[in-house]
Symmetry: C2
Subunit: 356 residues, 2 copies
């Protein structure tokens, strides 16, 4: 039976990407060797890495004063590594707290300087994106989480400020057009829109580096990874390769303008189904709803397990909400086809007819 | 044409592992989803992780007072993370310097306490394993690199000491039987004997932790990864999966006694060919020669490129020595068949007949 994969991450990847990714495990481009067993310094892998950097630059129109890195350790490593590299002991960084991921970033950054939480939506269980705050002009950077996978919120626009924005885009990277010049640094774990788990994209404006005084282990210095083109040590070869395939797919589909249009359409269909159905209810303030993760509940919580059972029977997987919030979460990343959303919304309708 | 993959790492994996690894990218165990797109908290992946830990424990007969972790960031991250977690500012660690990898580990550890290099083979370009040194009784740990991929040296036995040994086994993990009780901690990047690049095995005696006073970012604390069963954040799912398949293959082949016997046989065949051939010369003191990476040179260096060209024509790949030392290096890990070594040694013989 065809599965409709609504998992929040690691998440659905395009079928054509999976096909190529599977073939390369046996033989990469007919060289007679698997992508899993070639040296990271072979010309074949250097070509993969170069192409991956080129794709990031072309999709986001990244200017030359930024570096593009493929690291490991996930966004959780970037929570502290960004502060370790950018924030001096005597410096201050501003953070907007939009839930779990921001909270973790805040906690880790505190080891390296002063952290000022300038806005938070904690008062309403992170169901909205805060507005109306001022960014302190003396902040080294402003940290944001562009999309919160757990609560289902997303920044529609980013604050206008001259303070460099450091943005965790793990769950909406490559999902829409952005002006890269608004950001000092972007980081993203691959496992939603970019590829499988195991690599982390970092895009960083190079002039932000070299301004802290602490001693940093080599593997944690952005500058070393920049100088070594992400090959200071053996990088996560296969996750980078599959990320390259996924970015090629994005490009072939028409790039970020097309992703954005499709994601908007898919999100509208999803939220329309939630709003029009008397049994279900969205959990996020409408203007802050994520185009990537639609969170909702059954007004009658006692029907939850029955609904999940019907989902399972219809081949819908990964719909259960995050263990810290409950309810449901439809993760509808780039690779999610409109048809699969239709299967879910049809099921919601028929469920309402039976149980409404 | 069949390729004979002598790459030092990422390196050859068993053909049956690659076959299963390729299939799982399309569909994992018939669940209708790819291993690349399932949640790391799904029951399918938890089963992979549990099985991987179980295999490590069974292959090395790991007692219950040790924890088994699958992390990311490579051995290069362990160079500093081991010292960061084990060595207090006021403490001292002893290191044996057997070349590049040890040297990097020494450099990184110096940030966290006193590092005493108690032995080194630098005087002879790391062509032997030092002996006859005393391990200071007040050292927090003794750090060793069990096998040096670049120079082709390997500890045949480990020093007898009551000081806990921290050992980088990246390039000979699961290649032979060891007594795990001799070690306080073992770490190994997967990309030689264990799997593809992207995950790092850590086996650590739990009582060594909790003894340093510094503040450590969450992602760098072994204790947090232990408490969260390697799922504090999204782990490198696919590299762990393929490592599991490779460990299953090792088990099916008969486990470490069989790996050890085969590796010994393969190494003997390789070194016998080097020693008996008038054109070639081994670079390492015979008793310290690695069973994993056989390093050798052509006495007449001007023939090098011609030999590599003939290797290429015979389907032999990855034989060029590390860029920092030159010459040749035949990496003959667990998955390397005796037949492929035969192809190489036959070529060396015929090369000698033509050019000797």
């Amino acid at each position: 039976m065809k599965k409709h994969n609504f998992s929040a991450g690691p998440a659905i990847l395009p079928a054509s990407v999976l096909q190529k990714a599977s073939e390369a495990v046996i033989d990469l481009n007919g060289i007679g060797l698997s992508i899993l067993e070639i040296s990271h310094r072979s010309k074949e892998f250097i070509a993969v890495l170069d192409r991956s950097v080129e794709l990031v630059k072309s999709l986001y129109q990244v200017p030359d004063d930024y570096a593009v890195l493929f690291l490991s350790g996930g966004a959780s490593t970037q929570f502290f590594m960004s502060a370790m590299n950018l924030l001096d002991d005597s410096g201050k960084a501003a953070y907007v707290d939009t839930g779990s991921w921001s909270s973790k970033a805040i906690k880790e950054a505190k080891q390296f300087g002063t952290v000022e939480v300038i806005a938070s939506s904690k008062d309403k269980n992170y169901t909205y994106i805060p507005t109306g705050y001022a960014v302190p002009q003396d902040a080294t950077y402003l940290h944001l989480t562009s999309n919160n996978t757990i609560f289902g919120t997303q920044f529609r626009t980013f604050p206008k400020t001259t303070v460099p924005i450091v943005c965790d885009m793990s769950s909406d990277v490559f999902s829409r057009q952005i002006d890269i010049n608004q950001f000092g640094m972007i980081y993203a774990g691959a496992q939603k829109n970019m590829g499988p788990a195991g690599t982390t994209l970092v895009i960083i404006r190079k002039d932000l580096l070299g301004k802290v005084n602490r001693t940093i282990p080599s593997m944690l210095q952005y500058q070393i990874h920049i100088d070594q083109d992400s090959c200071y040590n053996t990088p996560p070869v296969y996750p980078i390769y599959v990320s390259m395939l996924t970015m090629e797919w994005i490009e072939e589909m028409g790039g970020l303008p097309v992703m954005e249009a499709q994601n908007k359409l898919k999100a509208e269909k999803m939220y329309q189904a939630i709003d029009s159905n008397p049994l279900f209810e969205g959990t996020v303030r409408p203007e802050d709803r994520s185009w990537m993760n639609a969170t909702f509940i059954l007004k009658d919580g006692s029907l939850e397990s029955l609904f999940l059972k019907e989902c399972d029977a219809a081949g819908i997987s990964g719909l259960k909400g995050h263990r810290s919030v409950g309810g449901f979460r439809a993760s509808i990343y780039n690779a999610m086809p409109l048809e699969s959303i239709g299967v879910l919304t049809d099921l919601m309708d028929s469920f309402a007819q039976k149980h409404g």
